[in-house]
């Protein structure tokens, strides 16, 4: 089949991918969308196999596909929902790595022998080789940090930013020289330098910011795939790569905004430094005391409430208490309580992560409310139960201009009638700042592990 015919047939794949993303606009037909996308991918592979230029290497191809499929299926089936961010990082990284390797082979196989690359394809080759490699190495470090194989704390050393910049420029220079001299090893060296840059680029970023990094690297891999499309003159690669590039860029921006930080601050500023600011000390102060309560006290509040809103945070997922929360919620619903879940955009370890975790615990998605929808409802809410969340309910973000999280959009739980905070201790959250909500006269603290607390509450509500 000629390239022109193939490009015509690839239109089906392009349409399938756009439809897949379109279907993701509602949880009702999202799954169908993904299946359409997968069918489109299969179609693209079939068309590619029928190309005139694909004439050999069948056994290599089959073996590679087999190994890759096994890795993919086993990884995807085994992963725990709490570990989803790492998994996304891993699959993202391998895609970037593939893009880099493809441009390397194409460079060696075609142009080094043809004697000329040409400026246009040269730029595309450099882009897909370097960006793909950065994405690969960066994703692996992000995976390591989230999996706690690498220290989650920002790793810094003197002259870091200058060193990183030099490495980046060096990688580009090597690649440019490779294009001019057609020396294959120079491009390979450039790819290695870019990989090293990917590593040192992600190392100084804290574990809590990894989701932003993953999303950004997702966009990178998309763009690398699009660049590979320019190298191979394949429209389907250009369109698909760019769709992912657009999606990754959009998500990265959304996430940075939800944390009230610029992307530059996430990537180049160590959050820990700002936390030491004096604003933090003043937050809890005023000699305010904390009220603590027992599970029985809280059970009575919940059982006689008209509306209860749960605010789940990552602490809930860590304690694997999603199922217990759902059980408690159902118990309350049986007693006629209106139960809802308020989900902050950055709850969990990546955007939308908490929704997946609750869906896994069979919480119906129509009980999950986004921040903007639930915020006006808090004044009419009798009890808010905050489980394993901290910074996303910190009123300091609204009323303390000195606070490092000032301006970050939060769930206004302090506007409700009563707040119950379930927490192991008074230790601060990710951002390392004190939370005035804990000292609010409307707030009671239930000091316990999230899972243990839920079990006690279930027992107590049953006996009310």
């Amino acid at each position: 089949m000629s390239t022109t015919t193939a490009n015509l047939l690839y239109l089906i794949t392009i349409a399938a991918f756009i439809l897949a993303l379109r279907f993701l606009s509602s949880p009702r037909h999202a799954r169908l969308g993904v299946q359409i996308g997968a069918a489109g991918m299969l179609w693209a592979v079939i068309v590619t196999l029928a190309l005139d230029e694909v004439v050999t290497g069948w056994w290599w191809m089959a073996t590679g596909v087999l190994i890759g499929s096994v890795i993919g299926v086993v990884g995807a089936k085994k992963v725990k929902m709490t570990a989803m961010p790492q998994m996304v990082a891993l699959f993202n990284g391998v895609g970037g790595g593939a893009a880099a390797l493809i441009s390397l082979v194409e460079f060696h196989g075609v142009w080094a022998h043809a004697g000329d690359v040409g400026v246009e394809r040269g730029i595309a080759t450099i882009f897909s080789a370097l960006v793909g490699s950065i994405s690969f190495a960066g994703s692996m470090i992000a995976f390591g940090k989230l999996q706690e194989l690498v220290s989650g704390r920002p790793i810094t050393y003197p002259g870091q930013q200058v060193g990183n910049a030099l490495l980046f420029v060096g990688a580009i220079a090597l690649a440019v020289v490779a294009m001019g001299s057609l020396e294959f090893w120079l491009l390979a060296a450039a790819i290695c330098a870019a990989a090293l840059f990917g590593i040192v680029f992600v190392l100084p970023i804290g574990g809590a910011d990894m989701p932003v990094v993953i999303s950004l690297l997702n966009a990178f891999t998309g763009l690398a795939a699009a660049a590979t499309g320019f190298v191979l003159h394949s429209n389907v690669l250009i369109v698909s790569g760019m769709l992912v590039g657009a999606s990754g860029t959009l998500l990265t921006t959304l996430m940075a905004r939800a944390m009230n930080r610029s992307l530059a601050n996430v990537l180049f500023g160590a959050f820990g430094k700002i936390v030491a600011a004096p604003g933090a000390a003043a937050a809890g102060g005023d000699g305010a005391s904390v009220r603590s309560a027992t599970a029985d006290d809280v059970a009575v509040m919940l059982a006689f409430a008209r509306r209860v809103v749960f605010v789940p945070g990552y602490g809930l997922a860590v304690a694997q208490a999603q199922h217990d929360v759902r059980n408690l919620a159902e118990l309350l619903e049986d007693k006629g309580v209106d139960v809802r879940y308020a989900i902050h955009p950055v709850a969990g370890r990546m955007p939308g992560h908490m929704n997946v975790l609750l869906a896994e615990a069979n919480v119906p998605y129509d009980e999950l409310y986004e921040m903007d929808t639930i915020n006006p409802e808090f004044p009419q809410t009798d009890v808010v139960v905050v489980v394993g969340a901290n910074d996303v309910v910190n009123p300091a973000a609204r009323n303390q201009p000195g606070s490092p999280i000032y301006g970050m959009p939060i769930l206004d739980v302090d506007k409700s009638q009563n707040v119950v905070v379930i927490k192991r201790s008074m230790s601060p959250g990710f951002a390392g700042i004190d939370n005035p909500l804990f000292y609010d006269p409307k707030t009671v603290m239930l000091f316990d592990d999230a899972k243990a607390a839920m079990e006690k509450l279930i027992a107590a509500v049953k006996s009310v």
């Binding site: 993701l24 991918m41 592979v45 590679g64 993919g72 997702n218 760019m242 992912v244 999606s247 939308g352």
Partner: protein, 97 residues
Amino acid sequence: MSYQLVTELTILVLAAFVGFEVISKVPTLLHTPLMSGTNAIHGIVIVGAIIVIGAHHPGWFMRLVAFFAVILATANVVGGFVVTDRMLEMFKKRPDA
């Protein structure tokens, strides 16, 4: 600048706009499946991997590099789609509603 490049750049820019348009309609509820779904979509590099492994006889070393590209791209595609499907399968509406 070649005519082909201009056409390809046009496609690229249009795809960017389509991407932003479609993605901005996805609710935050589904942002994690969105990320892993788009992840699967950039696995389209598998097309490139098949082309480079099947097209040339560049010697065993390049064949090996292309072989790794096929493995990585396949893991990306298969893993991405399977895990996204697994997540979306769990999203259910309230039974009585």
